[in-house]
Point group: C2
Chain length 196, copies 2
């Protein structure tokens, strides 16, 4: 993170072009990180799914080997060595499949859970806040434009006051929005330690 | 195999009801074995497929981790420790996936190949021969019926001779068919050692 300026909460109120530019850089970075992390998530899901399927397939083979006993083979004697051998093999396969199940649970706990949490709790929130910020910016600018276009005549005094009130509300809303957003972005990238 | 009578090649010519019955038992056994083995084959195919998919998924994750380097993260410095760490992790995953590939090759060689060969070369042949035997039996019986229904008059002498010739051909054909079939069945079940 050396060489990159930090976003400061107090800059949000001022909302200077520099702050805006820096914010845009942070946003692009967050967006690239989200895209990459989504790819990572689907790769990990694929491994998880294959591991689960392997586990289920092993169990099904063990079950099929056990089913040998209940098959009716006209030429098979009851005390056939094949039945007991297949049973032994099936219990060995059960061991294999339970080890695979443990591995699958570990994948789920240590790979999928943190990744999903990071994607949902952090990156999704940044993206939602970014949209909210954009909306607040647009609303603020529209109200500002409306205020600027008011004629400077005496009779429109009441109208100007109303517009002034609107502008005050919008600016307040706008200031609340990016402040929170900046704080969020800063918290994310520093506290997560992922891009440090 | 104790307690079960054997099919003898020389009984085929005689084609007694006992031999027929014994043959039917062998056929039912072969059919049950084929059904069971087909189930076994699909279980093993499923494991094989899951193992291959797991291997491919691991490779794809390794590739995605390597791709981190070529992502453009605006806030990422070039000498980031994350890039080199992910590279190390990717090469570790490559090791895992190559071990999985070896396992997959072993599955293919020692599990799928003998099973497929047994199903195709032996059980399929028994079933084909069984059908051929049934056809020869039917043809032989039809010709025999035709011969029996011939009127015992002088003028049909030529017809009887033709029919006699037919019957001779059919019986010869019939005798060739089950002889081979018996021999095949016996060879299968004893030489394979699976039902011994």
């Amino acid at each position: 993170m050396q060489g990159v300026e930090k976003l400061h909460l107090e800059d949000a109120l001022e909302d200077s072009p520099q702050t805006r530019q820096l914010l845009a850089v942070f946003e692009r970075d967050a967006s690239a990180l989200r895209k990459y992390s989504n790819g990572l998530h689907s790769c990990c899901s694929r491994i998880m799914k294959a591991q689960n399927e392997l586990c289920a397939a092993t169990q099904s083979l063990a079950q099929h080997l056990r089913d040998f006993e209940i098959q009716k083979f006209p030429l098979e004697s009851d005390e056939s060595i094949l039945t007991s051998t297949l049973k032994q093999f099936a219990s060995y396969l059960d061991d294999v499949s339970s080890i695979q199940q443990v591995l699958s649970a570990q994948f789920s706990e240590t790979m999928m859970y943190p990744l999903t949490k990071f994607l949902q709790a952090d990156l999704e929130e940044v993206s939602t806040l970014s949209e909210m910020f954009q909306i607040a910016t647009n609303e603020h600018e529209n109200t500002m434009n409306k205020y600027m276009k008011l004629p400077k005549k005496k009779e429109s005094e009441r109208q100007r006051q109303e517009s002034n009130e609107d502008l005050y509300m919008m600016r307040k809303k706008f200031h609340q929005s990016p402040s929170y957003k900046h704080a969020q972005l800063i918290t994310d990238f520093y506290a997560l330690g992922i891009k440090d």
